[in-house]
Subunit: 324 residues, 2 copies
């Protein structure tokens, strides 16, 4: 079993067109092949404000598959540690031997999640996007904006976060890295009212976006909710949306925005689609510029398997070329 | 993260009274504490006759918990590889960091499974056992017999297995190791009719033991069934048993012998108990010498966590004492 460190992985894997293509193909596989993807396994450790999730998926025809352990320990700031972490195993689908341990501390989860946001936006958002609104200023906010840049050519980001320090760091980093203008806003409402595309990336347990604030034509990527008690969107946003696209409908009914909209009796599900349906049929649902579209991302094992396969191949090539 | 190899683990951990006590306490914890043990996660790879299971459990009050990946790849004989494998992670319950990788290739699963058989037998079997019957001659057959020796002082083993070569190896190994007499029998019936305690440890998908063969007073440990399609016991055995003891009732209803007995409408469940109920209340259900008792073992994450904690502590102590 080969072991790769976070440093090696970060050095070799960045968000780019290839990664986005890989994640796109993951959703196509999920929709068109008999992918074995069991429900997420979850352990809660309430006394430490902690949760550990396990995801996996086997895609027929591939020689290996990933098993991912990801953790959220929300008291970790007390110990000077990041709250999220994780690692992936690549396991042979031929003989069951563990092939690689990708000890990435959650980096690959960030990358594959951001890539899913970009894939969805590519299929759903208007072609012309001037202002991207971001609610939340953590690592995933950065990765989402970075990934989105590969599918839409925006120049402005409007951001709101409760954490003042983080939001200023975000501004500085993103302006330097992407040559865009980042404006810090005082409320989610201010962000929403001025944006063509909105990304919510918070650990919120109640809506951070209200229906009244959403402008015609907006595409929304909501990726914070990945547990039954998490929620970022006013369920009325899903109700009024022309199209709602889930990574996995069954899963979003349990732990995504869709769950809350269904519970509020606001959804008839006739406008609910799966991302793999769009990618496999090259189907752009948007039928007019002022349509409102929502992507509900809860995270899937098939993304993990696809990125792990890609990373492993790339790292092995790097090792081999260094040995020459 | 510390990594321990199968060799290091095998060198330091053998089946003994301490391990059996640890597993006994695992069942007590499961019954008396708010253990977080999600359902088993399972990936099937039918084209390679393969399955991968993930188990985990967090026991309140412990600083770490295990996450175990175990695999069965039943074409592996073609590649000269063992069909089962696996590894365990010990994860901090305080901050989520992976503390250790126990790369044991399934050895600890064998040990903790055998220990559970011994715990159950200790609570359920008659005190005097002359002949132990064994159906199946794989690694687990050996470990079950070894573990049982710590709780009952038998001198004879009667064994049946379809695989002639394996059964002769079993005889030689066990006679040498345990100073007992092993008699190879020609059928499961012959084994059953002459035994006081029967262990079934096969990958059978239909009963290997029939009700008519079971003698009064017999205790049966069935540990082969750990998937919905697996079955070792005629469901009528569970029906006629005075007491049926599951590792976890909910789980045995899905993937153990109990499932098949319920499906055949043969169980009213009033004589069904959980092992932790016995260990926590020091309750020996057997009320007379000729009672028939059955243990249905499907395997639990709480056993994995307990053995991983024990192994890690022991290995760290060994490393420290070697460094002195």
């Amino acid at each position: 079993m080969k072991i790769f460190t976070e440093e090696e992985i970060r050095e070799n894997i960045k968000i780019d067109t290839t990664v986005i293509q890989e994640i796109k193909s993951a959703f196509t596989d999920l929709y068109t092949k008999n992918v074995q993807m069991p429900p997420i396994m979850r352990v809660d450790i309430p006394e430490n404000k902690a949760e550990v999730d396990v995801k996996t998926a086997y895609i027929p025809g591939y020689k290996s598959f990933a098993l991912k352990v990801s953790s959220g320990f929300f008291n970790n700031y007390k110990y000077g540690l990041p709250s999220t972490g994780g690692l992936m195993f690549l396991i042979s689908a031929i003989n069951g031997q563990p092939e690689a341990l990708l000890y990435d501390n959650g980096y690959l989860t960030d990358v594959r999640t951001a890539a899913a946001g970009a894939v969805a936006a590519d299929y759903l958002a208007n072609e012309t996007i001037d202002v991207v609104g971001v609610i939340g200023a953590g690592a995933q906010a950065r990765y989402q904006v970075e990934a989105l840049r590969f599918v839409r050519d925006f120049q402005h980001v409007h951001i709101y976060s409760k954490t003042k320090k983080r939001v200023l760091e975000f501004k500085q980093e993103m302006e330097e890295k992407l040559d865009i203008i980042v404006s810090v806003k005082d409320s989610p409402e201010e962000v929403a009212r001025g944006s063509d595309l909105i990304i919510t990336t918070t650990p919120a347990e109640e809506p951070v976006l209200q229906r009244e604030w959403i402008q015609p034509g907006t595409h929304i990527t909501a990726m914070g909710a990945d547990a039954p008690y998490k929620q970022e969107l006013d369920p009325k946003i899903l109700q009024m949306a022309d199209f709602v696209v889930c990574d996995v409908i069954d899963q979003c009914e349990v732990c995504g925005e869709l769950k809350h909209a269904i519970e509020a009796n606001l959804m008839d599900k006739k406008n609910v689609f799966e991302l793999g349906q769009l990618t496999s049929q090259k189907q752009k649902l948007r039928d007019r510029d002022d349509a409102i579209t929502v992507t509900d991302l809860t995270g899937t094992g098939v993304q993990d398997t696809k990125i792990a396969l890609y990373v492993y191949k790339k790292l092995i090539e790097t090792v081999e070329s260094n040995n020459k």
